[in-house]
Amino acid sequence: MEIKYTIQGLLVYMTIAAYLLAFVTTILRRQKVGHIIYLIGFAIAVCSFGYRWYHVRHVPLQNLFEVFLCLGMIYPVSLFCRRALRVGGYAADMLIGAIVLFPAGFVFNAQPQQLPPALQCWLFTPHVAVYMFSYIFMAKATFQAICQLAGRNPKPGENLLGPEESTYRIICIGFPLLTLGLILGSYWGKLAWGDYWGWDPKELWSLVSWLVFLGYFHFRYMFGKKHPRINSLWAITGMAAIIITLLWVNLSRLFPGLHSYAT
């Protein structure tokens, strides 16, 4: 655990503070104030990402610090889910934003790095960005799945979907992104390493994440909403596989592979 006494660090801490304050304010039923603070937090998160971009002179998606910095810009996803999908969990998004920024603020090294030759490809940004988007959606879906398991439903006046239906809708948005990320990565692997599939641990875990959500769709097609708890468990398992893909594979010595530069 390290505290970053830099402008970059300050921006990250300010975002975390804003998100936490927005969360507390929303919980205390000051939704409008909470929304404004959330928006301010998002603006700082964008500045933080932009500052990093300027500092390293390439799209900052190279290592885990930069990836978590990107994940901290959760607000548009949150807004989209509420407005377009009628999915709740707005306050939880603020908390998710603070949680994903925590490793960027206190765990991962922010030392700027130059892009190694393998990462100098037009696929670098779309591949990683698409994955980040899908991960945020899947994190939101998991929160809804947990709500479903806990028996928490939206209040009658809120005009929001129930947690089971919400989980399904968000996974419907996240799954094509997950698919696109997998395929772009595979295409890039062919360009950089000569094989579109190298059986690398990171590749295999990303396939596992994809397969779990594929299983979710098949199971839900077979049984619909008959077994909502099992549906939710599929979604939570998918998120667990995503966390392993994103973190464990890079941080553990158990999985040495081609993606080690992301550490």
């Binding site: 094509p176 696109l180 890039w188 579109y196 295999l204 098949h218």
Partner: protein, 335 residues
């Protein structure tokens, strides 16, 4: 449907197992004959599913997704080592699946050392390496100060010329060393690149005065001032101790059996050469003296089938989960 779900779960479990055993062993594991049975069963089940479930045929998104998966599986199996062996037995197509070739500068090569077995095969054409070079993020500089105090700084690269003025003539960088050493034979000294571990970066600079014989001077990064001569220009080789590599580049020519140059390409990471049914990738290099490059050779058999599958899968998922809902909303709004 239950069978589909079981096969998905089996593949998930196998993938988790594969992730724990490492890429090399996982590749062997997933390419073994037993797993070939599984891949074939998966492909057959998908085809049978498309034929049996009317919904899969009626809903374009679902059809694209499932047919895409079939193509990925078929293309993958066709392009695997087993697929190459079958093609050799059935159609007499003897293609190299994957291997590596080392090519020295200014020489051509068509032998490929096959991956996994101690065997070499020949390509029906040769590759000539004109030059191999490494590019760095941080440039290195040569600074020259003439006796009259005129200072010039240029990026240090072989062939770079510097005009020192009418009185002093010109200078040219003729060679760059990572680990400079000097040998003496019969009283004659020769500079050479020492391949053994060590760092002694140096430049060989040829100075040609307006009326006189050209002389070669050596400028050292770690020993500034070592090569200075009385009355001659002062030279400094400005080079950071650590330099991050930005690219590896092999300048290649493809030469057919008649000796004609049929293609040219500077290959680098992410920019392979595609010729004659093979992709050639920058894989490794002579890290001691930079005299040769190592290319990875991969057959393109089945690749475009896999890519077609990727397209279909992507289009299918996006159509089925996103676009058809957006279009139906628009339709509902307009009617």
């Amino acid at each position: 449907m239950w069978l589909a779900l079981v096969l998905i779960i089996v593949l998930t479990v196998l993938s988790i197992y594969g992730a724990f055993i490492g890429a090399e062993r996982a590749q062997q594991f997933f390419n073994q004959p037993t797993l070939a049975v599984y891949w074939t069963a998966l492909a057959v089940l998908l085809i049978a599913g498309i034929a049996a479930f009317r919904r899969l045929l009626r809903v374009p998104g679902l059809l694209l997704m499932h047919a895409g998966c079939v193509l990925i599986l078929v293309g993958g199996m066709w392009g695997s080592q087993g697929g190459h062996n079958i093609q050799k037995k059935l159609f007499g197509i003897d293609k190299i699946r994957s291997g590596r070739m080392a090519i020295y500068e200014n020489s051509s090569e068509n032998h490929v050392a096959l991956d996994g077995i101690r065997e070499q095969k020949e390509l029906p054409f040769s590759l000539k390496l004109n030059d191999f070079r490494i590019e760095y993020y941080q440039p290195v500089y040569l600074q020259i100060e003439t006796a009259d105090g005129n200072v010039q700084q240029v990026i240090a690269e072989v062939g770079r010329q510097i005009d020192l003025g009418a009185e002093h003539g010109k200078a040219e960088i003729v060679r760059m060393f990572e680990n400079f050493k000097m040998s003496i034979q019969d009283g004659k000294t020769t500079a050479y690149e020492d391949p053994s571990p060590g760092l002694n970066p140096a430049l060989a600079v040829r100075i040609t005065p307006p009326s006189g014989e050209a002389t070669t001077h050596h400028v050292f990064s770690l020993h500034p001032g070592f090569g200075h001569t009385q009355g001659g220009p002062k030279m400094i080789y400005d080079r950071p101790a650590y330099r991050a590599i930005s690219d590896y580049i092999s300048e290649l020519e493809v030469i057919d059996r008649e000796g004609n140059i049929v293609a040219k390409k500077d290959i680098e990471v992410n920019h392979p050469l595609h010729y004659g049914g093979y992709h050639f990738y920058q894989s490794s290099y002579d890290d001691k003296a930079g005299q040769y490059t190592v290319l990875q050779v991969v057959s393109d058999t089945g690749l475009y089938v896999v890519y077609a599958g990727y397209w279909m899968l992507c289009l299918g998922v996006i159509w089925h989960l996103w676009l058809r809902h957006i279009f139906s909303r628009f339709k509902a709004k307009n009617t």
